[in-house]
Point group: C2
Chain length 190, copies 2
């Protein structure tokens, strides 16, 4: 016996996520969210509590959007080749109008650092850990690595992803390709 919602929360979060992705948390105002999400501030606050709530849901939406390329890595069983493919898939994933906008999680870590709210921090950390464990899985598929080397290499690849994320926002395609090739091609290495 009451009015029904005119919007689906997952739809408007998708739009919010894209806005946060382009502008970051602080630089995205509730008025901007209102416009982009197509709903009134009242609806935003009744659905998500506050701006921070919208952001946390946006991060979750980001992660499930990333699942498309994450699953390719997850289902691969060709070791390094699969990881390298993930790096290229990621580049494509972050591209918008020929310009990279980086990884939303990495951007957020960079913007908020350690002053992110605990519940948000949990989401950010889970993201990094999941990525690292996917790298470990694939590294183990190439049998000739010791556990110690696998750990070191997984750390290396994780930090390299941070570089790729930031790099995707300021470097051109050929520089980024050089970067990825250099990571995975031993004969080119420094």
């Amino acid at each position: 016996m009451a009015r029904t919602k005119q919007y689906k929360e997952e739809d408007v979060i998708q739009k919010a996520m894209n806005l946060f992705w382009r502008n970051g948390f602080e630089a995205t105002s509730v008025r901007m969210l209102e416009k982009e999400m197509g709903i009134n501030q009242f609806s935003i606050y009744s659905s998500f509590g506050n701006k921070h709530g919208v952001f946390v849901e946006s991060i979750k939406a980001y992660k499930s959007e990333l699942n498309s390329i994450r699953n390719i890595l997850k289902n691969s069983n060709n070791g390094l080749v699969g990881i390298k493919q993930f790096f290229y898939d990621f580049l494509e994933f972050t591209k918008e109008n020929e310009e990279g906008k980086g990884c939303l999680v990495c951007n957020t870590v960079s913007e908020l650092g350690n002053k992110a709210e605990p519940d948000l921090m949990v989401e950010l950390m889970k993201f990094t850990e999941e990525l690292r464990s996917l790298f470990i899985n694939n590294l183990k598929q190439d049998k000739n690595r010791s556990q110690e080397i696998v750990e070191k290499q997984a750390n290396y690849l994780t930090t390299s992803m941070l570089g790729l994320s930031l790099g995707s926002r300021i470097q051109n395609e050929s520089e980024l390709e050089d970067y990825i090739e250099m990571i995975f091609n031993p004969s080119l290495r420094v």
Copy 2:
């Protein structure tokens, strides 16, 4: 026949820089700058025009502070060894209370991206270019590299520095050490 300034501009910019470094541009308010710089808003605006002006001067101050470790790299003539040392020097440089605060220039690129004002963008780009050319210098010291490989490797090292900057803010010392060792130790590579 007039009153003299109670402060040196280079002194107060040093303090402003540290505040921007810790908090980023947007999250640093003029009231916070007032407190940290120890001077009134009137003095801030009469010396630097606006908040953006304070920031541009802070970036310049950052770059000259970085000169201490940049010169070590510049004066080195041992190729890769010198570059590796620079990576470690940079980690030490960005450390504050056992926690990294990244590279101010990289943080700024991440925060503002392509919506930075042109004069600021110039400073940010110069920074990256100068770093890249220092890498090229040292890479050329090891004689067995072709020009093409030198370019590719310089690109690789530049993007790797972006990863180190962001990594320094969220990863622990041993993960960062793994990362650097992995970059420069071919036998550990993926």
